[in-house]
């Protein structure tokens, strides 16, 4: 169970995330939507420890993570991907996953790594240099694979489906659904495409100017006139 209590993040005069509170279980797939600049990535950063919230608390399975160092989140079962992929430089795809597994999950299991690579369609890329020899979509899959290798209970996915054409998106969405069901991993995903969110997520939280605008089932949320206005008025590309 991930619980956010009045999480607030400020950058100088700008309040990027304001008093955000919600809970979700690992049995859920929750879509986090909202126009560009709404504070979605910043909220991920606050949850995963890349920025210190100016106020509020981040709880995971009863543990207060708010002041815990970045690396310890993985040990508590919280994984994340980066909107702009951040492969570990100088390492191959396999070495990236090995580091994630060894230090995130605390064990080395090569069979499991092969399984993750196959699952994310990276089997043929295993020995490539991650930073220099992968295409953008492969890098995004590596982001997910790295997070999976830490054996998380909950995954924060930041726009991993963006930029895919329709078929690719369906394929990847099915993979995520499969992962959620097979490995019992809760998913909090940032995604713009309404159709994808509707098919993948049990629940949607809409963020606008750092605040929660709506929280409910995809059907209800995407019919909410205020949400529709923020989407069409916010210069959204989706």
């Amino acid at each position: 169970m991930l619980t956010l209590e009045n999480v607030t993040v400020r950058f100088g005069g700008l309040t990027a995330v304001k008093d955000v509170s919600f809970s979700m279980g690992t049995d859920q797939v929750l879509g986090l939507v909202g126009p560009n600049g709404a504070g979605k990535t910043t909220l991920f950063n606050a949850i995963s420890g890349l920025v210190r919230p100016g106020g509020g608390r981040v709880m995971f399975n009863g543990v207060d993570l708010t002041r815990k160092p970045l690396h310890s989140r993985a040990h508590h079962g919280l994984g994340r991907t980066f909107q702009i992929p951040q492969p570990m430089h100088e390492l191959t795809v396999r070495e990236n996953l090995l580091v994630a597994q060894r230090f995130g999950a605390g064990k080395v299991d090569h069979k499991r790594l092969d399984e993750i690579m196959d699952f994310m369609d990276l089997g043929d890329q295993a020995d490539r240099n991650a930073a220099t020899e992968l295409a953008l979509q492969e890098l995004k899959r590596l982001e997910v694979a790295k997070a999976m290798a830490t054996e998380p209970r909950m995954l924060l996915l930041d726009e991993v489906l963006a930029g895919l054409e329709t078929n690719g998106k369906r394929h990847f969405t099915a993979r995520l659904q499969d992962m959620h069901k097979r490995f019992k991993i809760g998913i909090l995903i940032i995604e713009h495409d309404i159709e994808t969110v509707s098919s993948l997520c049990h629940r949607v939280v809409v963020l606008n100017f750092g605040e929660i605008l709506a929280d409910g089932t995809p059907d209800a949320v995407f019919r909410d006139p205020e949400v529709v206005r923020s989407y069409t008025g916010g210069g959204e590309d989706a």
Binding site: S72, L98, A100, F103
Partner: protein, 316 residues
């Protein structure tokens, strides 16, 4: 690979001693060059694995030397116990440097430089213990072991050679381990590495400790070879600068490069440049280094390296 290793060991442990036995001048130079080699490995480990450039390795060298000398002269510890204790003393001192690990590149380098200076001042001011600027003299030499006199030139050569080879072995082991892989990943992508669970600060701290231990150990060994210490000598910036020059010359990203670079540079400087120019011969060294950085920034070892694919095949 294995075969080359055996040939090298036979050369170092049998051929060199047999050829040079009795030639105390060359043996002394070799011992001095291996002392620099030990410092160069210590420096390169912190630089290449920890990603931290140190301008103050003289601190570890000096602390190790003083600690070991004092443990023997004041507390009567056996020399062979005091020398590793000198390494431990350098590790303890490095604990005070931990806050500097949060600093980035050049700031860390300067912070360590400042630390080295502080320890030099301490060694000068605590004169009741350290003898102040006059220093410590008659520091006991290395003992006899199984009737073999380690304090002879040849004995010192065997000891320091073994230390340097051990350092290289440890360095290589760490580098090949999962910790080494994570450290490599941290250089250019620290957040991405931390987010998957790597405690980067702890790994860097460990590299600082291992590096400090090596530096302290070499400093301690040296104190018992020259039997004399003073702050200006033990904390001399040469102990910070020579290892850097040697490591860059030999290739600081390789395991054996820094050690080989140290021996080559030291011997060439003493045997060739000094003959040509008895004063200011370091100038030639400076010019060679500048040339190296301009034309072969990866160092000497790179020139001997096979192509990456061949090297990879050789591993399996």
């Amino acid at each position: 690979m294995q075969k080359r290793m055996i040939v090298a060991l036979a050369l170092f442990y049998v051929v060199v001693p047999v050829l040079l036995n009795g030639n105390n001048y060359i043996l002394s130079l070799l011992v001095s060059s291996l002392i620099v080699a030990g410092m160069a490995v210590s420096w390169a480990l912190l630089g290449n694995l920890g990603g931290m450039v140190s301008f103050g390795h003289a601190a570890f060298f000096g602390i190790g030397g003083y600690a070991s000398a004092l443990l023997v002269t004041k507390l009567g510890l056996p020399v062979m116990v005091a020398i590793p204790a000198g390494g431990v003393a350098a590790v303890l001192a490095s604990v005070f440097m931990l806050p500097a690990l949060r600093l980035s590149g050049p700031y860390f380098a300067l912070a360590i430089l400042a630390y080295a200076h502080i320890f030099k001042i301490l060694a000068t001011e605590f004169s009741s213990l350290t003898g102040g600027s006059a220093g410590l003299s008659s520091i006991p030499g290395l003992p006899d072991i199984f009737g073999f006199n380690l304090s002879s030139r040849l004995g010192a050569y065997f000891v320091v050679l073994s230390l340097v080879l051990m350092f290289c072995w440890v360095y290589g082991r760490i580098r090949r381990s999962d910790y080494g892989t994570a450290l490599r990943a941290m250089h250019d992508s620290e957040d991405a590495t931390r987010v998957v669970g790597v405690n980067s600060l702890m790994l860097k701290s460990w590299m600082l400790f291992v590096s400090a231990f090596m530096g302290g150990l070499i400093g301690a060994f040296n104190a018992h070879v020259i039997n004399f210490l003073e702050p200006d000598y033990a904390f001399n910036s040469a102990w910070s600068v020579l290892p850097i020059v040697a490591a860059i010359f030999g290739g600081y990203r390789t395991v054996y490069g820094p050690a080989i670079g140290a021996v080559v540079i030291y011997l060439v400087d003493q045997l060739v440049f000094k003959e040509i120019m008895s004063t200011g011969h370091q100038l030639i060294l400076g010019a060679v280094l500048a040339g190296m950085i301009l034309f072969a920034p990866d160092g000497l070892m790179r020139l001997f390296k096979r192509k990456p694919q061949e090297a990879r095949n050789a591993h399996t």
